[in-house]
Symmetry: C2
Subunit: 368 residues, 2 copies
């Protein structure tokens, strides 16, 4: 039950027809239609140690039309397949929010909440083994921004391929990553960098850009914008795989930032069905670490109750089971502190690029 590649338009439409077929075949036999799904509770999501990502287990659940709630879900699934097939044929895409409103015309299949439509879109990914991007369903959130000497070709809305170098062809705000970064939409053309650095905050991204760190350290800078969008995780995965570049993750030192790293490297529970497609196992956490708070005497804040609870949960999270993470988390618990990336400014605007990053990178064997 994993999805690890994008499908052609014909394959997507065939997969969607499969959903209708399962229902039709059963109705033709005079039995209630069904849709078979993996159980989407935490108990059926496991950490696959061999692959190093979250994956669904084998438990299945069958939705059939004998209960009103399930019958509605089946009806909605059919409406979505029709809607998506129409979009594919017309070369359109839609936000999840638009689909929610479009369901106004679906009679008994109308969604009552946005959450219902989002979840059903994920269900359909699982059942059809297609991606939401294959369906042309977009989130509202913005994708990442990239600056550095890497060149992409993006197919624009007119169908033309445009070549964009993320150092020379963009303004200071960088290249905006589109929601779909698959081969039909985006090609990785060429690069002249040694690694990719993913950065949590806009302030730090802009700092590294202003200081010319991308050129000095020969890297591509990616602004994650907090918890990264699927397209952001996917484009990093593609750069890691196709260009064989290390991905270094530079975030605040707090439990929520650790989860940003983990979702990049190992996937997240919510996207367990596409972990193998989104996760970049080769991603490495660069900092800020609890060690750094002490070593650089960084301005820090006390851990809140929620922070402390999150750290406790992380100690037993398989994504943080290595000795290194266990030590870092325990050290944070001991000192009771967290710190932001931008706290490095305590030593001036250039400290991060003149001192902190060179020291961290050379410790990782990536000195320049």
């Amino acid at each position: 039950m994993t999805i690890n590649r994008q499908k052609s338009k014909d394959e997507v439409i065939e997969a969607l027809h499969g959903v209708a077929s399962e229902m039709h075949d059963r109705m033709a036999k005079g039995v209630p239609p069904t849709m078979t799904l993996p159980v989407r509770s935490k108990s059926n999501i496991g950490f696959d140690k061999r692959l190093g990502v979250y994956k669904y287990g084998k438990k299945k659940t069958v939705r059939d039309a004998t209960a009103l709630g399930s019958a509605r879900q089946l009806l909605r699934a059919l409406h979505i397949t029709e809607f998506v097939e129409g979009m594919i044929t017309d070369g359109k895409t839609s936000t999840l929010r638009e689909m929610y409103y479009i369901s106004e015309g679906w009679g008994h299949g109308k969604f009552s909440t946005q959450n219902e439509s989002n979840n059903l879109a994920e269900d359909l990914e699982i059942v059809t083994k297609c991606l939401r991007e294959d369906f042309g369903l977009r989130p509202e959130e913005d994708g990442a921004r990239i600056i550095g000497n890497v060149t992409f070709e993006e197919r624009n809305r007119k169908g033309d391929w445009m070549r964009i170098n993320c150092r020379d062809d963009v303004g200071d705000s960088g290249y905006g990553v589109p929601y779909n970064v698959e081969s039909e939409k985006l090609s990785l053309i060429e690069e002249d960098v040694d690694f990719v650095m993913a950065i949590e905050t806009g302030g730090m991204f802009d700092r590294l850009v202003e200081n010319g760190f991308d050129e000095e350290a020969r890297c591509a800078l990616v602004h994650l914008k907090g918890q990264p969008a699927r397209s952001t995780r996917r484009i990093m995965r593609r750069m890691s795989e196709q260009w064989n570049k290390p991905i270094l993750v530079f975030t605040d030192c707090d439990p929520w930032s650790f989860r940003i790293f983990a979702s990049i490297a190992y996937g997240a529970i919510k996207t367990a069905h596409i972990s193998e497609y989104l996760a970049t196992k080769e991603a490495t956490y660069l900092g800020i670490t609890a060690d750094d708070i002490l070593a650089y005497d960084l301005p820090s804040d006390d851990l809140s109750k929620q922070d402390s609870n999150a750290l406790v949960a992380e100690l037993s999270d398989p994504r943080f089971s290595t000795g290194w993470w266990q030590e870092q988390i325990q050290l944070m618990q001991e000192i009771g502190k967290k710190a932001e990336q931008q706290s490095l400014a305590k030593y001036g605007l250039d400290f991060v690029t003149d001192t902190y990053l060179p020291e961290k990178l050379s410790a990782m064997g990536l000195g320049y």
Copy 2:
């Protein structure tokens, strides 16, 4: 007490020295140093009917060094002037967050909260009649995205001017507006559009882009990203002024979205000292209106308690004093409903560009 143009580096440094001079001159006379500011409470901010924007009144407050709190503020103001002068000399910029951390080295002048440093940066704008952008102080928030046949030149971090057409030279995510859009950083080169449309949500912006509305209706599309950043408001003002283009604002129909419009057209209380610089009096509210909810039978939600309170406040807000706004707000109160831009998708993905916007635009005399 208004700021309406950017200053040269020398003028900025001179203005900063003025802050130090006021203090120095008094100390040389053996009296405590002072800094004179307009009173920054609501009672001293009035709506200037002639100019159509918020402005500070004449009440002044004098901070002097005879109380510990005020003395700290004066000390901080001197540290900031030194820090900003250094940045101007080095061609650097910094986030407000970085400045907060840099104050770690300012001894008794160290900020205890981010709010203190943000407020003092605004105080210094007022005292020096310079802009935060003149100081090189940046917010964390991202600027707008623009798509359409308009061409800017942006001076990049290497000092080179890059020409970017927002239709042909950008990917689907558009041109990312930098934090500083003044003439030293950004030039408006040429355009072939009839108006500018500012859009609240990313989903609707992407819809108009995908549907090619910018070309069909000959307009530039601006994604506001919620409450617009200063750079977003300023670039719209520049397009309105330099290119003489109408600015149409397209948002959700709810009281918070009305405030987005008002901050574009008339300024906001928080930026009362730079209203004349940021506000675009020629901006027009296009929709969604309460009328639209009824006329198009749009999916809507009930007003919450907070929504209702906000509407009551808006009825007496001078920015909504026109007969049209009063009617629209009263109609919303009557029907007790609000609606999102994307609710137009009830009638399909193309309804907004095939029906809604053409009808609204031709009612405004902007038919195409």
